[in-house]
Point group: C2
Chain length 306, copies 2
């Protein structure tokens, strides 16, 4: 039980925001002033969303990052978060997890203000949730995934496939190239870029389940078709897997990228940091054209459970 007392001490040391009420009150209290609040939540399951042998610090970081990535896609500034933590009888793991979580929350300015901790029956895979709250000023439009229009450029904020390649390395018992493993374990949400773009885009979301499946979701929500003609790869990915059509298909269907995906109107220069991957047109569904040739879509476009 002293591990649990340590955990509570560690949580209380993190929860210094007044909204947390010292974690002694079962609730957090947020004053408001007319701003819009953006609320998102993600659950990660051991063996599904993270590996039992992932360092717990990286699991904590990643849980924060995936929620922050959803806030980024709405142009929101992080405000606070609530943690639903599950104890599996390993205080060292919990402490490392909180350390990594704390590092991400500190870096991106999202204090923890509450939560719930439960004990799992022995042998149960951990299930941990984080609920993040961000804010957007009053009357500022918050981009949805449904606003893409024919003629829009479809862009992403970085290469895809690195995290999927990193996971494949770990599954094969390898830990290098470290850059790819790091992309899987320690993604960085594109918060500043999301905030700067939110007023310009017609639609925005993050790529969490795979470029093609998330593009398909944007197309469906927007009642239009999206053609993808470029799959941006990192130098590290290309060095490992090459850039064949197959390598690009694998990158476009791997999950965990956490880059932003947006529909951008107009024909001006692309904002810094963006890569055009396709365009929006009349019709429905996603299509793929690489090296000037139509490419048949793979059977699996990405992950069905983010």
């Amino acid at each position: 039980m002293s591990g649990e007392a340590d955990l509570l001490r560690q949580l209380r040391a993190m929860a210094t925001d007044p909204a947390a009420r010292g974690l002694r009150d079962d609730v957090a209290v947020l004053p408001t002033m007319g701003e819009q609040l953006v609320v998102t939540t993600d659950t990660i399951v051991e063996g599904v969303h993270f590996r039992a042998d992932d360092p717990p610090e990286t699991v904590g970081w990643k849980l924060a990052a995936v929620n922050l990535s959803d806030l980024a896609a709405k142009g929101a500034v992080p405000r606070c978060c609530m943690l639903n933590h599950a104890l599996a009888g390993d205080p060292g793991w919990d402490s490392g997890f909180l350390e990594g979580l704390s590092r991400a929350l500190g870096r991106f300015g999202m204090p923890i203000v509450g939560g719930d901790t439960v004990a799992l029956p022995a042998g149960t895979p951990r299930t941990i949730s984080l609920t993040a709250i961000g804010e957007v000023p009053h009357a500022v439009a918050i981009p949805s995934r449904s606003g893409a229009r024919p003629g829009d450029r479809i862009c992403v904020s970085g290469p895809v496939g690195d995290a999927g390649a990193g996971l494949a390395l770990l599954e094969a018992g390898k830990t290098s190239p470290a850059e790819l493993v790091r992309a899987y374990r320690v993604p960085v949400p594109h918060l500043t870029l999301g905030q700067s773009l939110a007023g310009t885009v017609h639609a925005m979301m993050d790529v969490s389940d795979g470029l093609l499946i998330d593009v398909a979701r944007m197309a469906e929500a927007s009642n239009c078709a999206i053609q993808i003609n470029h799959v941006p790869l990192s130098p590290c990915y290309e060095a490992l897997r090459g850039s064949s059509v197959q390598a690009r298909l694998e990158a476009a269907t791997a999950g965990d990228d956490y880059v932003l995906l947006m529909a951008l109107p107009g024909e001006r220069d692309l904002p810094r940091g963006l890569i055009q991957v396709g365009h929006c047109k009349r019709g429905e569904g996603v299509s793929l054209r690489l090296d000037g040739k139509a490419v048949r879509l793979p059977a699996r476009l990405g992950y069905e459970h983010g």
Copy 2:
């Protein structure tokens, strides 16, 4: 997979509040107008917080009720909630769970506006979280658990022990008296009472882990002592277990009551629905006096994990 599609349809039919954005946008968006938001979250684990053979409708109801009870203790009006659901490969269970959840959310006016659904590895006990957001008008004081003062009357909003007795019945393979099983499976949050009392009390919280342990927490947070001299029992509890000191100790250390616990100043008539169980005095800790005699505290005051 068609079970999952059904589940999503059922969730979307529940999420008609505009804040939900049709559950198509990874986030919920809440406009604010200067109100204070009260945020609380609870996780329930199969085999820990509910039984594998509890009807799924009651599990859904109870998850809503335990969160609503936290809002009730702060005098908050429910605004919306987010669900972290875990699929364990039984669509019928999930559908029943959502039906019960939906019934509670409808009855107490708390629309679901978002969440996350994950698939668990086969055989994993379900872990499900709900995050509830309530609101309190601007500048209205929100009672904490730390405001009890010497001289305050300590009151609860109903009898304790019924839910614990109901759980004990189920563990013994019995399902009657149904009233006690119902207290365990289908608790009713005291929302209206909490809202009407919030401006009057010095401190308020709900009793979720056992009367004695929750009283001890209020005493500790308030830097005072609380003496309990009455453990209110329901007629049904008394008929089954009697009202001996032992029966009252069992009622005062059983969890899942979800009555409100408060420190009330003054000596006027008690507001309707309240039962005085003790008083606050200088010092620290909780003490127990029944039938005019000091009673030694049991080793276990309640549940450590709510």
